[in-house]
């Protein structure tokens, strides 16, 4: 039975699933059912060190940089419309392969071209993030965050972080205005 987190809540993945080595972080939302421009949502991962900044520009995992340099984090691709059941985007994380200086993985979702399309997270239904144990396919934790959003166009859904020898996951649900660029810059990525 997966733990359902509320905003700000956290859970020890290592305790919930002893022996955990690899996880799939799934992010989902419902496709637009009304007329108008489709929502195109993109998941990104910021791999940060002690200071909450990315270790280097290649530790910003997104649709143009799907694999981390050491291969431990892999973005499985972009679903343009959110159509279909299940996760819309998935990120594979080999916990045992993460370098020691990696303290935190920040999972964010942004609405592509939100400003021009006049779209925001409040209009996206049933957005969630979940953590699945790759070994047995069981869901460990889930956070349903639609309720906490309104005008935001970029949101940090959750964070995976080291706590001593454990890996923990925290439900964030923090929104930002302005989309991916300011969010990336806030995490120390230099955007050209």
């Amino acid at each position: 039975m997966a733990v359902s987190l509320s905003k700000g809540g956290n859970i020890s993945l290592s305790k919930e699933a002893p022996g955990l080595t690899e996880i799939v972080v799934g992010l989902g939302w419902d496709a637009r059912k009304t007329d108008g421009v489709e929502f195109d949502l993109d998941a990104s991962v910021f791999v940060t060190g002690e200071n909450d900044k990315v270790l280097n520009d290649s530790s910003f995992i997104f649709y143009n940089n799907k694999l981390s340099a050491d291969g431990s984090i892999e973005h499985l691709g972009d679903n343009r419309s959110g159509a279909g059941e299940g996760d819309d985007e998935q990120v594979n994380v080999k916990l045992t392969g993460l370098a020691a200086d990696v303290k935190k993985l920040v999972f964010a979702v942004t609405i592509h071209d939100a400003e021009a399309r006049k779209q925001s997270f409040g209009q996206v239904n049933n957005a969630y993030i979940r953590v699945v144990n790759k070994a047995d396919g069981k869901e460990i934790a889930r956070f349903d965050l639609s309720e906490d959003a309104s005008v935001e166009t970029a949101m940090i859904f959750g964070e995976l972080y080291r706590h001593g020898a454990e890996f923990k996951f925290k439900a964030i649900g923090q929104g930002y205005a302005g989309g991916l660029k300011p969010l990336a810059e806030a995490h120390g990525v230099s955007i050209g």
Binding site: T34, D35, K118, S120, G122, S150, V151
Partner: protein, 389 residues
């Protein structure tokens, strides 16, 4: 006051609340506001969960349309009294017959009593049907979310989105209709019809194709203006219109159904047509009704619906009479008695014919001095004698 932008949400008061939708009207295009009581699936459970101009009171009064005038609609909603299976109540606005899109509406605002309002940004909107917002359950509490999204295709795709079956408006048929094609397979479910077909001189007939479920009970209503009492000095001019029909069955049996002579007919047995009592004054709401057992349509050859004036001046135009034919799952068919009938006391209104299983309805509105010459004119071939009731 909490002001919501599209996507924003806020808690709402418990108990009875008032929801006002205020808008700038568009000249020449009506705006209809509706509410849909939705299950967890996001769909209505039945067509009875749609609160609109044709059904202003749903959920046992928990959702009521209290006012719908130009520029304003008001709902009284008691969220605590909704059935437990209702998870959401969506408020919608639609522009009748898609005559304009919402960017023509300068201002559109939803106000929920207790201090929540949402101004819907209509600038640049190409939609003709909008989901304004929705009440929804969240952890045991009711909240309201401003949605402001919709459909360019109007009420039909919107209703479909919420799981309401909309009967398609039949395409106008040419005056001299060729033999209709075999009945297409049609859904057996009943559907709400938002359309109404008026048969008039320019379009005088329509064919209703048989569906898998048959026709159900076909109801024919005659309603008319009850006449003015004329005040102190005026003469009472109450008009008594009687509804009746000539019928012919496939087995050759033919007769008349009318209050005169107490020939009320039968639904379950031949002739499968029944006059549902006589309203002598027209004051009873709803006028006179004739029911036809649609399951037995195959045994019926033709029915001529007529009205006759038993008492009162036969000024047909002044009666403002209208015959409406209700067939489950089909648009209402309306025929208005808006012709001069001279002094003739009997009006043949509509002919229902069994056309390869379909119900072909043809507007007639021709006048005769009584039933006998009408019979002759239509080649029914019965023998008549005078009677009274």
């Amino acid at each position: 006051m909490t002001s919501l932008v599209p996507g924003g949400n806020a808690p709402v008061a418990t108990g009875s609340i008032t929801v006002e939708i205020a808008y700038s009207p568009i000249p020449g295009a009506d705006i209809d506001v509706s509410a849909f009581a939705l299950a967890e699936s996001g769909k209505v459970r039945s067509d009875n969960d749609m609160c609109f101009y044709g059904q202003p009171n749903v959920q046992g009064g928990a959702v009521q349309m209290a006012d719908a005038s130009s520029g304003r609609a008001v709902f009284n909603v008691d969220l605590s009294r909704l059935e437990a299976a209702v998870d959401k109540v969506a408020l919608t606005a639609t522009i009748h017959e898609n005559k304009a899109s919402f960017d023509r509406v300068a201002s559109l605002k939803v106000t929920v009593s207790g201090g929540v309002e949402a101004q819907i940004p209509t600038s640049g909107m190409k939609e003709t049907a909008l989901i304004l917002g929705e009440f929804y359950r969240r952890q045991g509490q009711w909240k309201f979310r401003c949605v402001a999204q919709g459909f360019a295709g109007g009420l039909a795709p919107l209703a479909t989105h919420f799981g309401v079956d909309i009967a398609d408006a039949p395409a106008p048929s040419p005056a001299a209709a060729p033999t209709p094609p075999p009945a297409p397979p049609a859904p057996a479910k009943s559907a709400i019809s938002l359309s109404k077909v008026t048969l008039d001189k320019s379009r005088s007939s329509i064919s209703l194709e048989k569906t898998a479920a048959g026709f159900g009970e076909i109801r024919v209503n005659l309603n008319w203006n009850r006449g003015k009492s004329g005040g102190f000095f005026g003469k009472s001019k109450a008009i008594d219109l009687d509804l009746g029909c000539l019928y012919e069955l496939q087995d050759g049996e033919k007769s008349v159904i009318q209050a005169l002579g107490n020939q009320f007919g039968e639904l379950d047995y031949e002739p499968f047509i029944k006059l549902m009592g006589d309203d002598r004054t027209g004051a009873v709401a709803g006028g006179e009704w004739l029911h036809i057992n649609g399951k037995k349509w195959s045994e019926i050859k033709r029915i001529l619906i007529f009205a006759f004036i038993y008492e009162g001046a036969p000024d047909w135009k002044a009666t403002d009479g209208v015959v409406t034919i209700f067939v489950p799952g089909q648009p209402e068919i309306e025929v208005r008695l808006n012709e001069e009938g001279g002094r003739l006391g009997c009006c043949a209104i509509a002919l229902l014919e069994n056309d390869n299983g379909a119900v072909k309805v043809t507007r007639r509105v021709d006048f005769h001095s009584n039933q006998e010459p009408m019979d002759k004119a239509y080649g029914w071939g019965m023998r008549w004698r005078a009677g009274s009731k």
